[in-house]
Subunit: 261 residues, 4 copies
């Protein structure tokens, strides 16, 4: 039996996933899922793990297709800086990478090779093509999500941010967990479609489908840029006081009985 090359497999998967996502989306819409969380008034940006370990060749964490991400992120940054929107970068690094002593790698070392991410190496630094500027903040995180173990939530809450625009990698790891946490903690997650990467076939598409169905809005770069370009200067914004109203399902939970009860 001849095995497909990775490229052939990805092409087949692309075709099939289109159909699968169509069926899945129909099911979700019918049930009242896949709503739009929408943009708020007072956003911040977070670029997940766009450090050299993820963006440059030769590291166990190297991702695919990073050049496209870099280009999209540059455009987001230019638009955000013009309005004074706060920009965060994360990098996933550890003070102690010796697993024979108490260390800050936690259980993640038991799943993935975080011992290759010491805090003070070249690999830990944000890719200089999108280097932080001015008041940009670099968060050294220890887990997948940008929230646990960092002061991101403290910053977002005290500055009454209502929207978190998310880019970076990886789709199945740090980007997804960050989007889930953002929604859970009260920040509208907007994921920039062209600015999210990963390593293995199908993984970006699937995770963006799941996220868009349940946790945040996956939006084209052009829309995100338009939002940033047309918003007022950040200093003049006030947050949307509550979530957007939605068309609700016609289901009276208190007065229905299950079909099979």
């Amino acid at each position: 039996m001849v095995e497909e090359t990775r490229e052939e497999l990805e092409a087949q998967l692309e075709v099939l996933l289109e159909k699968v996502f169509k069926v899945g989306a129909e099911e979700y819409y019918k049930r009242g899922f896949k709503r739009r969380v929408g943009y708020g008034n007072r956003p911040a940006i977070v670029h997940i793990d766009m450090a050299n370990a993820w963006t440059r060749e030769g590291h166990p964490f190297t991702c695919r297709g990073v050049d496209g991400l870099i280009d999209a992120i540059q455009q987001v940054n230019t638009a955000a800086r013009a309005k004074g929107v706060p920009i965060f970068y994360t990098t996933n690094v550890y003070e102690i990478t010796d697993s024979s002593v108490p260390n800050d790698m936690g259980l993640w070392h038991s799943k993935i090779p975080v011992e290759s991410l010491p805090a003070d190496s070249y690999w830990a630094q944000i890719d200089d093509r999108i280097a932080p500027e001015g008041n940009d903040i670099v968060l050294e995180k220890r887990r997948a999500s940008a929230f646990p173990g960092t002061d991101l939530q403290l910053f977002l809450a005290a500055n009454h941010i209502d929207t978190l625009i998310i880019t970076g990698c990886t789709a199945a790891g740090c980007v997804r967990h960050t989007a889930e946490d953002a929604l859970a903690y009260g920040y509208r997650p907007i994921l920039v479609k062209e600015a999210i990467g990963d390593r293995v076939p199908g993984v970006v598409q699937w995770n963006l489908f799941d996220i868009d169905s349940k946790f945040g809005d996956v939006e084209p770069l052009a829309d995100v840029l338009n939002y940033l370009n047309t918003m007022p200067p950040f200093g003049e914004t006030v947050p949307k006081p509550s979530p957007d109203r939605q068309i609700e399902v016609d289901f009276d939970a208190k007065n229905t009985v299950p079909v099979d009860a």
Copy 2:
């Protein structure tokens, strides 16, 4: 053009996903991912959203293939109760489902129909085929993960639990976010393969693949039962003091340069 039925599509997807996951797993292994977090010594069980809204026909949240989950969960509970292992159930419900006033649905109402989950209805109750007993604890959660907004972490920490055995639904939603959080906060996530459900084609398989690659160990029911059956009584256990050692990647982050630098 003739469109495939859902069943035909799922059959095609099943075949293709097997190949895709094989390629993905090889890539992960090569890079040092997809390690085993392993079982600890002092587990707790959490059954995610096995309430009527998910397990019975006729609700917007109804899942597929629930009978198999119920059966697997009954077996897990029997084994866990024989050893005094703590058992949690979650149900995702809200005190205030009127979105025109301040309410506890948060931003999740902006993505999925949580207005159909009032706290005091039939649908909110745990399926009586796996009804809580004795000191089992039912957590009323508001978000996908079982951690934010509940006292699960407080219980796990003070009782020095080291392992969280996870079942329930949905794979792409509450189960995955719970597994990610469990790993982040320091509890070994063990997912019972036969006991996890969802709603749309491919979504269980894909999420279990992602979780197993990065966040927790997806294990067959038989292995989980064997672990529970052969552990000492819970009251005699002490937690594993630290994560299991792993075979580490041969990569010296401080003395390498990127291929493309």
Copy 3:
């Protein structure tokens, strides 16, 4: 030697504390401490542990001077309800009060008699003189602060509350930890001076002094009522987007050397 009665001791303490707090406040003002966090635009109320165990005679947790608190809280509730301001009550209770098995009392059972607070007793219920109404939310908490293990923060964040008006008991326990957490997590803590109680001599005064110096504003009931009476209906409010500006200390940290260096 004749020992003072408790009343005599409290009278002496009252006189001395006035002097001590004057000296302390001067020291704080000189250094730039004891600033005003100020009222925001979009408040919520939280009444800490005004359940029968704290408000009625005969329980290990019974507090002193509760009648005054009840009266003040009734006034706060009347003013808050007229504007649609969300009201929370906490009660500190446990599902499992048997410390010989895994339980939800945590380490707090190792300091105070939380075994006397089972979740389903008379003592756990909010005092019926200030009974919850309508959409008021009762939070069953397990720790001192109203934040860990509850969904309070999720509610405050998603509804963009900016101010947390705090009453109840005890000053040194649940009220103080709640005020500290509120400030940490980004909510302006306003403590209603006449509505905070405790059990032993001097403890209310000292804790309100500490809180006002570092964590939140202790304000007279009349001021809090005036704020609520003059604010717009809650549904028309938008949160203050950022903390109030303050007069800052004249100290250049980057260009000073220590006196003793």
Copy 4:
């Protein structure tokens, strides 16, 4: 009227507080409060804010009596290092101290002069008399407690620490909030009596009294040193699996009625 000097006032307060704490402690003991949380088996140390801003003359945050703290902390560190016990230091600092732009000072800038604590100044560094060594970890925190916004809890959980030995300053601020959080999150707080400082009269005594009554054990330096000197090497320890059993109050909450009901 002649006003007392600060020294005279402190002398009077010392005498009166002794009586007040005796009365308070009797009340607490009678009710079943002021129990001993006790030492666990697997400790970590945290030195709160022993950076130059707190330990050296000439800064708005300068504390009193710091030399005694330094001496005690040196002894704790020597004993802890001999056993391989993990040591944390916190320093309270900010990346952005310009309050006219979005910044990481949060609401705390609205109460105390945190604008004098930029991250990269002399004042932010740990006092070199107790300089960090080897694998010691310095946490840059933004709030009072060492927990929110840092990865302390992630470290403690994954390494199954059961005890947190706490020193530093200030008693009414960062030390107290850290002790409260440690207990809440499941770590036995042990406060080293001789190693805790603050700024104004009476504040250390009062806060240690409150903490010892409700949140953690205040222990003499000699006892803490003895514990460290007699424990096994850290690498050989396993955590205590559950809180210590306590003598419980004789109160049946389900079958009592209030005195005033």
